[in-house]
């Protein structure tokens, strides 16, 4: 395993643009240039039409809370200082079949609800003993709800 695990390897080609976008506070998802289907997770060939060219497309960052958990046990030592935290799947407004694994932040876990509107915020991923940090899309409940 990499020395800086569980930080993402931002040079890993299939998701390089995702992390590069996040460093500019942009949420980018690959989209098939032939048929327009969103291709998440990254794949070599479009699941719908079989073509192999994708354009990383900026998303609004708006989505719905598809499901979530409150993690109380650190399954990796790197998360020991973070528990309890909310790990979640967010379905993006532009294509709800695209679900991002992410964290809900600035929220009260008891107030979370299914399909509630959420929006992306960009926060650093940091782990003990790892100097580097990586900006990542996380989500907060949309205010005024």
């Amino acid at each position: 395993m990499r020395q800086d695990f569980p930080l993402p390897d931002v040079t890993w080609e299939p998701a390089r643009e995702f992390w590069a976008g996040a460093s500019r506070s942009e949420l980018l998802i690959p989209r098939c240039t032939a048929c327009g289907a969103y291709a998440w997770y990254p794949v070599a060939r479009c699941r719908r039409c079989g073509e192999g060219r994708f354009a990383w497309t900026r998303m609004s960052g708006r989505g719905r809370l598809f499901s979530w958990v409150v993690v109380h046990r650190a399954f990796l030592p790197a998360f020991a200082a973070k528990v309890p935290f909310v790990a979640a799947l967010v379905a993006l407004d532009e294509e709800p079949a695209v679900r991002l694994a992410t964290n809900l932040v600035d929220c009260v876990p008891e107030a979370l609800d299914f399909d509630m509107p959420v929006r992306a915020v960009f926060r650093p991923l940091r782990f003990p003993g790892v100097e580097r940090e990586v900006m990542a899309p996380m989500f907060v409940p949309v205010e005024g709800r």
Binding site: P6, H72, A101
Partner: protein
């Protein structure tokens, strides 16, 4: 069951009534034992051969799972028994889904004359090895570069997190409750307390205990999650003709089914988020057997988590989709009078973490009539195997 946008069945030839399971064996099931998977497997194999009344020299087919480290392969077989004869070897054996489909591949090999007596074997020593693994049994997922780079950094890892997320969505879509998941854990534990070999034999669990247990990965408590233990199992298969000459009651392989999910272990992207590929596996198995879920006397399911059992019960047709919660309430799954006696040895939640091989052993014992928590006059037993990418259904019948 036709293809859908998220999965499909694997077409299988009809092998109903061609072969039988004629011997079963388990190792001791323990916390960290210090033993290797091969040592554990050898104990299970020796017991399976003794149960079948066959010498090692009679075994001419071996099925195992090479991708799981240190498994009991042909070299280990010969080294342990001091034999050197030719073995037909298949890498499509072991536990999980393959504990359910190994009889299909064995039937084709036996039909083709490639083997006469086929052994399927599986073992794990993850309780012993856990400290060296990244996230324990999550290591295989941590090593997947997609997960490593877009899931794990957010702590959406490992399996208890995936399946607690699925459980919460199931609760939303269908009104499933914690007490309903708890009923599954309680049934398994009760069966384990009646099964001397079960790891949790001495640890009774009530629904009140379950509900009072603190959250691990909310909505899961630790009781929703399987054990981590060392152990193994094995079973021996042969043609029904040869089976008649052996010492054990005649347990026929009546049906096998296999289903697939196109999104594999990327559960976050699965179209039917609260379903399993059992929806594609079970119908084929029941059609092959000429049976329906209503004919099943005892069910064993690969149960890494309570929710995986609940979804499979729905997806195999024991109740309608979404009604699993109400279906499993109370004592519905108990061996003595429940509508669907389930994981009568305690399952992976309470018996042992041997990834389904002990489930098949238990199913055979039930339809033989020799289980510890014996279902009255069980004739048809079903095992449901699961990996995420695939699910299998194995239907066994006493003849």
């Amino acid at each position: 069951m036709a293809d859908s946008d998220w999965g499909c069945p694997t077409p299988l030839e009809d092998i109903a009534g061609e072969i039988a399971i004629v011997g079963v064996g388990e190792s001791a099931h323990t916390r960290a034992s210090g033993r290797s998977p091969k040592e554990i497997a050898a104990e299970a194999v020796e017991r399976a051969l003794a149960d079948a009344g066959l010498p090692p020299s009679a075994i001419d087919g071996l099925m195992y799972a090479p991708f799981m480290g240190g498994q009991f392969d042909a070299a280990a077989f010969h080294a342990y028994f001091g034999t050197s004869h030719d073995l037909w070897v298949s890498e499509r054996g072991g536990g999980m889904v393959w504990a359910g489909t190994a009889p299909y591949d064995a039937a084709l090999a036996i039909r083709a004359g490639q083997a006469r007596y086929v052994l399927n074997v599986f073992s794990v020593a993850w309780a012993t090895q856990r400290a060296e693994m990244v996230g324990g049994p999550g290591q295989v997922h941590a090593e997947d570069l997609v997960k490593q780079n877009i899931e794990v950094p957010f702590g959406w890892f490992p399996q208890p997190v995936y399946f607690a997320t699925i459980a919460r969505r199931h609760m939303h879509e269908f009104g499933t409750t914690a007490a309903q998941l708890g009923a599954i854990a309680v049934a398994c534990r009760r069966h384990a307390t009646l099964t001397p070999a079960a790891v949790m034999h001495d640890r009774p669990l009530t629904l009140a205990d379950y509900l009072a247990s603190p959250p691990l990965v909310d909505p899961f408590r630790k009781e929703d999650c399987c054990l981590i233990s060392d152990g193994g199992g094995a079973y021996v298969m042969t043609s029904v003709e040869r089976a008649r000459d052996l010492r054990q009651p005649f347990i026929e392989v009546a049906g096998v089914g296999l289903g697939n999910s196109y999104t594999g272990t990327y559960w976050s992207q699965q179209g039917a988020f609260t379903s399993t590929p059992q929806v594609f596996a079970a119908p084929g198995a029941f059609a092959m057997a000429g049976l329906t879920p209503a004919d099943v006397d005892v069910l064993t399911l690969y149960d890494p988590f309570t929710i995986v059992a609940l979804m499979q019960i729905e997806d195999m047709g024991f109740c309608r989709k979404g009604e699993g919660g109400a279906f499993v309430e109370g004592t519905a799954l108990h061996f003595d009078g429940g509508v669907l006696p389930y994981n009568t040895h305690g399952g992976m939640l309470s018996h042992a973490y041997v990834l389904g091989i002990a489930h098949v052993v238990e199913t055979v014992r039930q339809v033989r009539g020799e289980a510890a928590a014996q279902v009255s006059d069980a004739e048809v037993g079903v095992y449901g195997g699961y990996t995420g990418p695939q699910a299998s259904t194995l239907i066994l019948r006493r003849r």
